[in-house]
Assembly symmetry: D2
Amino acid sequence: MLHLESDYNTGAHPEVIKKLAETNAEVLSGYGTDKYSEAARAKIRAACECPDAEIVFISGGTQTNAVAIALSLADYEGVIAARTGHVSLHEAGAIEYTGHKVIELTGTDGKLNADTVREYCEVFYADENRSMMVFPGMVYVSYPTEYGTLYSKAELEAIAAVCRDYNMKLFLDGARLGYGLMSRKSDLTLPDIARICDLFYIGGTKLGALCGEALVFTRNNMPPHADGSIKRRGAMMSKSRVLGVQFDALFTNDLYFRIGKHSVELAEKMCSVFARHGYKFLLQSPTNQQFPIIENSLLAKLREKVTVGFWEKYDDTHSVIRCATCWSTTEADIAELDRILGEITS
Amino acid sequence: MLHLESDYNTGAHPEVIKKLAETNAEVLSGYGTDKYSEAARAKIRAACECPDAEIVFISGGTQTNAVAIALSLADYEGVIAARTGHVSLHEAGAIEYTGHKVIELTGTDGKLNADTVREYCEVFYADENRSMMVFPGMVYVSYPTEYGTLYSKAELEAIAAVCRDYNMKLFLDGARLGYGLMSRKSDLTLPDIARICDLFYIGGTKLGALCGEALVFTRNNMPPHADGSIKRRGAMMSKSRVLGVQFDALFTNDLYFRIGKHSVELAEKMCSVFARHGYKFLLQSPTNQQFPIIENSLLAKLREKVTVGFWEKYDDTHSVIRCATCWSTTEADIAELDRILGEITS
Amino acid sequence: MLHLESDYNTGAHPEVIKKLAETNAEVLSGYGTDKYSEAARAKIRAACECPDAEIVFISGGTQTNAVAIALSLADYEGVIAARTGHVSLHEAGAIEYTGHKVIELTGTDGKLNADTVREYCEVFYADENRSMMVFPGMVYVSYPTEYGTLYSKAELEAIAAVCRDYNMKLFLDGARLGYGLMSRKSDLTLPDIARICDLFYIGGTKLGALCGEALVFTRNNMPPHADGSIKRRGAMMSKSRVLGVQFDALFTNDLYFRIGKHSVELAEKMCSVFARHGYKFLLQSPTNQQFPIIENSLLAKLREKVTVGFWEKYDDTHSVIRCATCWSTTEADIAELDRILGEITS
Amino acid sequence: MLHLESDYNTGAHPEVIKKLAETNAEVLSGYGTDKYSEAARAKIRAACECPDAEIVFISGGTQTNAVAIALSLADYEGVIAARTGHVSLHEAGAIEYTGHKVIELTGTDGKLNADTVREYCEVFYADENRSMMVFPGMVYVSYPTEYGTLYSKAELEAIAAVCRDYNMKLFLDGARLGYGLMSRKSDLTLPDIARICDLFYIGGTKLGALCGEALVFTRNNMPPHADGSIKRRGAMMSKSRVLGVQFDALFTNDLYFRIGKHSVELAEKMCSVFARHGYKFLLQSPTNQQFPIIENSLLAKLREKVTVGFWEKYDDTHSVIRCATCWSTTEADIAELDRILGEITS
């Protein structure tokens, strides 16, 4: 069986698991104070070119989004997101569980448009009854988006400008950040992101770690006593080394970026393979997730040999599927896909 | 100054305030156990032809929505509402404060369409990842809607059918229920609503009371220990007589319906007056709120003599305004409006 | 039947209900902007000698406590209260519903002791693990307490000093404030309370209003956009006049204080009557609530003629009951109690 | 430096880390569906002799407590716990964050007494005002307690009987369960606990795992759609294998129990060493945590050579410290402690 359904179906990158094993017997303090967490923070600060960045490690993405949003919003504020955003759709209401509204706007291919956000704010602030409405206090974007697409630097800066104009924070969900940064189509660097956003996270779980995300506050804007706030949301690991060691490994010798690059290159090849066999795509994704359209009876055949994710219904006879690469995907996998597609499509 | 901006800018209907004064010195128990609350519940049950209805009185509408929704949903569920619904837009995030998501769907003139809801549910239950999504557990409709429009009996029953098919509760926000029921265009009665909905509320604040809403559970579905759940949301009045006496008055000699009828008749006349002076409307509302479109410089002139609500921008030179009637609106008010419109429009 | 079970079993003081009726037809804006709310705020500011006080009116006490506490605490903070405090025991978990812990300390006769609070804070700040604990961010006191007892000025100032030393806010629940201020044993005035506390509320429901409490922020410390925060907790009345008119009446011609004085004087007489018939008390209350101890079979007889509140079991054969006076209690009521006690006790 | 400050300062037991490494490249599904999670569940069910147990794996203890409590309580209910319980004191208000009150009762050496709980319930259900109070819906116990102490089978069954009588669930926090079960003083087995409790968790983080706890529902009482409820609290790991593999290892060849036994035996030796050097203890702990009392200047000296946890002030000149053993503690460590104590105490 060939596995392409997700980027979280194998364990950690070998260099990560190796470091976990090597450091296993060391005695280390907990709750974020261990030396590997410290080292990882220093390396991330350097990679971000943001020497004052405050960084906390959290075990998963939904938790990180909830903590980032809940701790940054005032009571009367909500967070703007694309209707297709992870926080809008696929976190089982985790943001609402914190008591805050996700203000859903229509985007394009997973992306929010700065003009849409600006117009929303203009209408909001022109409304005489706005004191009875949820104030927009933050804009949430994901990079890459849930559809694998990327904001250009200009697009992200345009959104940041709206945020400045309307006193909103800009938060970037980087669950798959490395795949975005290493895309051929990306004109953004990690320092760019640290400079443009008020806070963002560097995703580990989907990029070579067993678990863990690094939440980065770039403006000396980590809330006071964040430890307690994170603890009470269940997002604090006592053996914080688990996250510290993994991020230390990911930010040693550019591993994080190597993983991203490897996966995106194979995704491009995967994309070519699908195209060569005549498949169209829901959209052009320049990152590690691809969304081919497939006739339903073919999909059934394909699934006998390849695991793929069902994404959405395309029409009565076709489906959109998701195929993802990650650190463990190989050239052989792509060749195998080619063979299988040849077999079932003919 | 002529006042048309809302239906909550005068006090209580004289029969209501009179009863509050008359019963003021009586010694009564509190927390919903007073005899007027009991009497009011009996009268409402009779009016609903729902002898088993369980009824609680709550001081305001937002509170009632929050209590009704929070107590009816399971932890993993959210409530479907029109994007323009009161719970979606104008309660400052009160539903999200209870931890639940408002699943916003596009409606028409403030109304949800049964097909839209059904399609949403079909897609939801076809989604392989739905366990990571918010389950739709309730449908929220308002009658009349925030735009003054009405569901027909067939429309409401169609929504109820979707609710049955997908195991959702149907909740009707009747903040202005009496205006809906007394509309010439309504084919629904109070017993119809009690029969079709799982729970709904009869709005007092906007229909002749100083404050207060009657939340009606029609299926023996009031949650256990609702008292405590209401108390902890701050929605329990110790001097519950305040609400009991008012609803007792409103449901004596059909006062609630007389207020509705009076207001809607005057709204029709108000509508004609606007039309006669050449104004168009955002939509046709058959209830006590009307939404004329007015050129901005005229609006400024109008506001020197009439208070009206700003509703939304229509285009660069026009606005939609809201004009509402209520128990205290008089024929003389409408005549005065006619005179003023003549003056400013000429 | 003689009614002594509570101070919320009759309606509003006649001067209050009269004003509600007189102003009923006036057209007024809502959501706290009506002229009576403005006037009431001005009168309260004057009575508090706190010209910058920010004041919001809220329909009930539990709601007011929840709003005051939730809006004043940081995410990682809780509120210290006596184990017997209203927020600890009798609000069905309303404070926890806002997500915050009530840190319960042992008090005496309903009162917190400054030394107890200080010691708690000393131990807390000496704890190496305090980052995983709830920070004390506020002290909650009630005046009078739930047991009718009063803090002296020195005692309240001592608690305020601890609050300053440990960066906590001091919040005073004045559900029955007027009874405390008018007690012969009180050495505190309303300006004292405004000066000593960061926020407090002046209770209306239990002191002559139909409903309503005035929450007073004394340090320019009302949170920004409090309107929205209050709205989303369901604590905002659209017909805010209901509260504004009542508080305007209560603070006209010292009505609030007259009610307090009248009730406390009758409570003293009630106390004497019980004592004369040989009853002992749970404690000495100098306010409108008295807590006599009564043998259980006598209690059964008493309850045939007088409504009283059960407070707690005293021992296997005795109970503590609560008897309260309010604006509607008369000299004749006390004489009647005297007669009844003579009858059943002999 | 000798490290005795906690049982979470080294990584995973070698058999656990080995299995993580060995299975790392395997392709596995996520969100709890991987085959190792399935296998671990089967092994735990067998170890519990509870073939119908429903089991979810969660990354940390605070999260597990919050999920277990929030999903088991009705809206109007709270959880009874000892004032010293982990949920009461050391989770930064995580339970209150779910909206529920921790009803704190006084215990002894960290343990709740069945009589105390029964008396609380008797008084509660005798209170005429209980509808305005938080209903006790669950009893929380920890085994071992935060003080290392153990309930006897009779004690735990007595609490369970109170729970049955008053319709409360019994939840056991087993963050250190293995240390309790393997104590010489324990008369409880894992099947006993599964039989007596409605739900409990088997702690991994503090007993040989990198992270992870196994929450066990023993009465077919896992709430419906628990996946979504866990997800929205941020407690769902996408690479669930991380937890599944670790628990599979822990429940293979009795590793979990071997770790417990090893640690408790060394703790007994550690205890003897302290005693031999003349130290007294705060209390007798039969598990892996010991609480010696030490003069403050000696503590300073000790801390130059041994890391220990500060537990609490004993008197003006003495402190209580916490020393813990775990899988990585060795006989050599104990010998070294002996040497150090000899050195500093002489």
